[in-house]
């Protein structure tokens, strides 16, 4: 169990760094969504199923959708 959770945390940190250093904004939004998704699995490991459901539904789902909407209202919407 410690090995699985530390592996997931490693992937989460890599995804967080990728979200900062990607040039393409859409890529970095998707990477931030991956961070939230892995965080929801980690909440499940910490015996917090309520928080895991909230993070999966709101953090990984709605937040990513809101970011993509805002991106297409600003930069992406004008160039295409």
């Amino acid at each position: 169990m410690p090995l699985i959770s530390s592996f997931l945390i490693l992937i989460m940190l890599i995804a967080a760094l990728a979200a900062l250093f990607f040039d393409n904004l859409l890529n970095s939004i998707i990477a931030a969504g991956l961070v939230s998704l892995i965080a929801s699995v980690l909440f499940y490991f910490l015996k917090a199923p309520d928080v895991a459901m909230t993070e999966a539904a709101i953090g990984a789902g709605l937040t990513t959708a809101i970011f993509v909407l805002a991106l297409y209202k600003t930069e992406r919407g004008k160039s295409e």
């Binding site: 945390i9 967080a16 939004i29 909230t54 805002a70």
Partner: protein
């Protein structure tokens, strides 16, 4: 090695996530990237709060047909209740920030904060 990982992976991971978010907030110039960094910090803080209430080999705080009495060991339910509300507020506040970003883009047609007149950094 395994003991060290078990003891420090959650705390270390969440602290590193907070620090990565802080670095992003300070150095990035794109407004959407700054908001992404804030979301990362939010996730880190929530993860740390829940990890502080964890008890090894305890049950999730729900009585069911397997865990029938409240004399069994449970993890701390209070941080979970706090984090539950914090996640919802975090998303709503991010939405407010994104609405401001959309309005700023309408006015200056750029997402780069260093190109907006009147702001210097």
């Amino acid at each position: 090695m395994l003991n060290f990982l078990e003891e420090w992976s959650f705390f270390g991971g969440s602290i590193l996530l907070i620090l990565i978010g802080l670095y992003g907030v300070i150095t990035r110039k794109n407004m959407i990237k700054i908001l992404i960094s804030l979301a990362l910090m939010d996730t880190g803080v929530n993860l740390m709060l829940v990890a502080l209430g964890y008890v090894k080999a305890a049950n999730a705080p729900i009585l069911n047909s397997v865990v029938q009495t409240n004399t069994a060991a449970f993890v701390d339910p209070i941080p979970q209740a706090l984090v539950l509300t914090s996640i919802v507020i975090g998303t709503a506040v991010l939405g407010l920030g994104l609405a401001l970003v959309i309005k700023i883009y309408d006015k200056f047609s750029t997402l780069d904060i260093s190109k907006i007149r009147g702001l210097k950094w």
